[in-house]
């Protein structure tokens, strides 16, 4: 198994005349938590969808654990897990049935999957409602079920799109601990987020995407030295993505508020 678990080579996606992702070159190593940042519509979700095999690239390639996601999808998908931004589940399955289904889809023997499902349900505090239909779950609870389902097959690569949305503080903290533990065990976490505090405190490296192009990547410290300031990641992000032009407006609003 190679040390680089996620790799893209000139990855491009066009929808008609619009280019969503433009020649993306990226490498994420084992044991790394990679934060994927960018303004709305910058191409983050499209990139993740290409990495998961949900979308075929228009040009270029994406590799998961050295396997081309387009040429060897089944092998690559067996090693990854995806946590979408919207927890869409089968409303007519219970949480336990859903975890059993996911384990079956990822070819885990029944006796192991039952035990692991029980452990994950307990970990995410879902045990008491495990036999209720998912349609009755709140957004946060569904998100927890998705997270449990993502972990059931011991993924080597975890792709997460805004995973903390809808989670209560305790669950968000648990998620961060899980991410750190998985990285410590050698898994790769690729997380797209708007919460820069997560990126700053949890990610080993971050990449900033703007209009489909990777405009910066490196550890938060490296980005600071690139920009040449000791500002927060939020300031660096705003400066790099051109959102700093709103500063004057924000200041004028603050002035009005006083």
């Amino acid at each position: 198994m190679e040390n680089v678990l996620i790799k893209t080579e000139n990855l491009t996606k066009r929808f008609g005349t619009a280019t969503a992702v433009n020649g993306l070159n990226l490498e994420v190593k084992a044991g790394e938590i990679f934060g994927f940042l960018g303004p709305n519509g910058s191409g983050k979700t499209t990139t993740i969808k290409m990495l998961t095999g949900l979308l075929e690239p228009t040009a270029g390639s994406a590799f998961i654990c050295g396997l081309d996601i387009v040429k060897e999808p089944a092998k690559a998908k067996a090693l990854l897990a995806y946590v979408p931004d919207q927890p869409k589940l089968y409303g007519k399955l219970t949480a336990r049935e859903f975890l059993a289904l996911m384990a079956d889809l990822y070819r885990i023997p029944r006796e192991i999957s039952r035990q692991r499902a029980q452990q994950l349900l307990a970990m995410f505090d879902l045990e008491n409602r495990a036999d209720e239909l998912l349609e009755g779950y709140s957004h946060g609870m569904r998100q927890k079920v998705i997270l449990a389902a993502a972990l059931i097959h011991q993924p080597r690569v975890l792709l997460m799109d805004e995973p903390t949305v809808g989670l209560d503080p305790a669950s968000a903290r648990l998620l961060k601990d899980v991410m750190a533990e998985l990285a410590r065990q050698g898994a790769t976490i690729f997380v797209s987020t708007h919460i820069l505090e997560i990126a700053e405190r949890l990610c080993h490296r971050v990449g900033i995407l703007k209009e489909g192009q990777l405009i910066a990547q490196g550890s938060p410290e490296e980005l600071r030295s690139q920009v040449g300031s000791s500002e927060s990641l939020e300031d660096i992000f705003l400066e790099l993505t051109g959102s700093a032009e709103h500063d004057e407006l924000i200041k004028s609003l603050e002035g009005n508020g006083r």
């Binding site: 979700t45 979308l55 090693l79 897990a81 089968y90 070819r107 994950l120 993924p155 899980v178």
Partner: protein
């Protein structure tokens, strides 16, 4: 964190297509089982009614067809089977498009399944199977059952039934494949964010077609002319010969040959039908799979492709920053009429932009067309006056019904109207405006159009048009009152916005309202027989006692009928307006009061809670 096992170092062994297929099919079955378990008793009961109606229709059509088959020559029998098989394929396409749209485009599990290490072919095979399954009823009714009865009638051999199964499967596959191909076009046209709306739209069209189909026996019986199928088919020789060029014609040829013992010919036609079905099915299946994989069909849960609205330019200030105003006291003085219009506009836009809403207006239009057509073209279809009566009654019921939808339309967004400083009359009058405007335009057009078509005098037409406005407003006010007190929202059926009991109550109150108005209008337009009786009534003095008082009151009420015509007409109009105003303003006031207290949209579900 010690419960987290270490990540995999190697992918687990691969699985075959069939293993994936079985797993996904089992999941689909489990979902269906869980769904059926959650159905309430009343859902089953509601289902029983259309099932019984369908059975009745089938028995009627079956009897007609079976009787006709007995009198047909083999050639005409073959043509009859061709026509039925064609209907089977068309029904498979029609219902298949809806099913394919729901199970492919609307599917919420595709993203989840695509990420899992299962073959995409297996995913689409299960989805296609579920589309084919939803077409089973059409194929059974129009292909298998007619073929079965044809075989039984001609005492065909066992082999005949093998050809019948092959033909049924072939035509079912063909219909399903064509439905999936058509659905590809629909998926390219409908943007993802309007997919739910599109399913409602397609479902409503299906409902109307089915409703019209159920009118066939009624029309045949009303026409008083028996249905001579054999005679009609006999005169359509050319059409029947053309059928032999199509797969449904091949199916009929196979069965007729099979019934006559020419099994080699039957086998050839059956295989040809199956081969064509495969030739259409395989590319359709591959095209759907490739479409989703390549991304030229977006998943419905993906980003929408809404048109970008033109950005409105805000005049920049001198320093180049758009002006942002702090709270301005003058804003508080803005007229509540702005709020009323905002509420009305919001509802009107919602009606305009949600195609499912149109069916609320389209259904009465179609039903009325049916009534008008029947009155105009069928002998003894009904008197013209009674047609106008039906239209007026319909205005009442339709207005009330559309107003009933008003507050339920807020759905999960009801917090908004409850939290803005508009509660009270701006909200209620805004809702009234939105409910009344489209209804009134439609019903006025229907009423005046019909009145002109059947040749009513202009003064009557004007009176009717004015009356319709008052009736519509009154009925809508009643509808609004029941809407605000009984609104509900069902995420599974977004158009179900009111409780059944409230609908019935609203209809009863509206009947009472119409009855009262009709009674008051008797002073203005007195029927001649009543006037004759009134003229002959002796003068009456008041005497104590319950029946005597009641009788005296009735006499008192009839007294204005004896007045001079001008006085009588004015009195009649005044009383009618008084009753109308009491009902209209009374119900509006009650609704405004409830709006000030706040309204609650009850969350309804079609399923039992577990």
């Amino acid at each position: 964190m010690n419960i987290l096992p270490p990540p995999l170092t190697q992918a687990p062994p691969a699985r075959s297509f069939w293993q994936d297929f079985r797993l996904l099919a089992a999941t689909q079955l489990r979902l269906t089982r869980n769904k059926l378990r959650q159905w309430r008793l009343r859902t089953w009961l509601f289902l029983a009614l259309p099932t019984l109606s369908l059975l009745a229709l089938l028995i009627f059509l079956g009897e007609t067809a079976y009787g006709a088959l007995e009198t047909m020559t083999p050639e005409i029998g073959q043509g009859f089977l061709s026509l039925l098989f064609m209907a089977g394929v068309i029904s498979s396409i029609f219902f298949g498009v809806t099913a394919a749209f729901a199970s492919l485009y609307m599917s919420e599990d595709l993203e989840l399944l695509f990420v899992a290490p299962v073959s995409t072919r297996a995913i689409f095979a299960v989805k296609t199977l579920s589309v084919a399954f939803s077409n089973l009823l059409g194929a059974g009714l129009f292909i298998f059952l007619p073929g079965l009865f044809f075989g039984l009638l001609l005492k065909a051999s066992v082999l005949y039934y093998l050809w019948l199964i092959l033909i049924t499967l072939g035509l079912l596959a063909l219909g399903t494949a064509l439905a999936e191909l058509l659905n590809l076009i629909v998926m390219r046209i409908v943007p993802p964010h309007r997919s739910k709306e599109a399913v409602g739209f397609i479902g409503a069209i299906s409902g109307i077609v089915i409703a019209l189909l159920f009118q066939i026996p009624n029309l045949i019986m009303s026409s008083g002319v028996g249905l001579d199928l054999a005679g009609w088919l006999g005169s359509q020789q050319q059409l029947l010969q053309v059928m032999n060029w199509f797969p449904w014609g091949w199916g009929a040829l196979a069965l007729v040959s099979g019934s006559q013992g020419s099994h080699l010919v039957a086998l050839s036609w059956s295989l040809l039908t199956l081969a064509l079905a495969t030739a259409v099915f395989v590319p359709a299946f591959l095209l759907v799979e490739r479409g989703f994989r390549r991304g030229w069909i977006s998943l419905s849960q993906g980003g929408s492709s809404r048109k970008k609205a033109k950005a409105r330019k805000i005049k920049p200030a001198a320093n180049g920053i758009a002006p942002v105003r702090a709270w301005d006291e003058s804003l508080a003085l803005a007229s509540p009429i702005h709020g009323m219009w905002a509420v009305a506009k919001k509802d009107l836009l919602s009606i305009k932009r949600d195609t499912r809403e149109w069916f609320g207006y389209l259904t009465p239009l179609l039903l009325m067309m049916f009534f008008v057509g029947r009155a105009l073209f069928l002998p003894g279809g009904g008197a013209e006056e009674s047609l106008v009566g039906i239209l007026i009654m319909y205005t009442v019921m339709f207005s009330g019904n559309m107003a009933l939808q008003s507050f339920g339309r807020e759905g999960e967004s009801s917090w908004l109207l409850n939290s803005v400083p508009l509660a009270g009359w701006p909200v209620v009058w805004g809702k009234l405006l939105a409910a009344v405007l489209p209804t009134l335009i439609l019903m006025e057009l229907l009423l005046t159009g019909t009145a002109i078509a059947i040749g009513l005098p202009p003064n009557i037409i004007i009176a009717m048009a004015l009356g319709a406005i008052l009736i519509s407003l009154g009925a809508s006010a009643i509808g609004l009152f029941y809407s605000i007190n009984n609104c509900r929202y069902n995420p599974d059926v977004p158009q179900q916005r009111i409780s059944f009991g409230a609908t019935i109550m609203m209809f009863l109150i509206n009947l009472l309202f119409t009855g009262l108005l009709a009674l008051c209008l008797v002073y203005t337009f007195p029927p001649a027989p009543l006037m004759d009786i009134i003229q002959q009534l002796p003068p009456m003095d008041f005497v104590w006692g319950f029946p005597e008082t009641l009788l005296y009151l009735v006499c008192l009420l009839t007294r204005p009928l004896t007045w001079a015509p001008a006085l009588r007409v004015i009195f009649g109009l005044a009383v009618t307006m008084l009753v109308w105003a009491a009902v209209f303003f009374g119900f509006m006031q009650a609704t405004v009061r409830q709006s000030r207290k706040g309204f609650r949209v009850q969350l309804a579900t079609s399923f039992k809670k577990r």
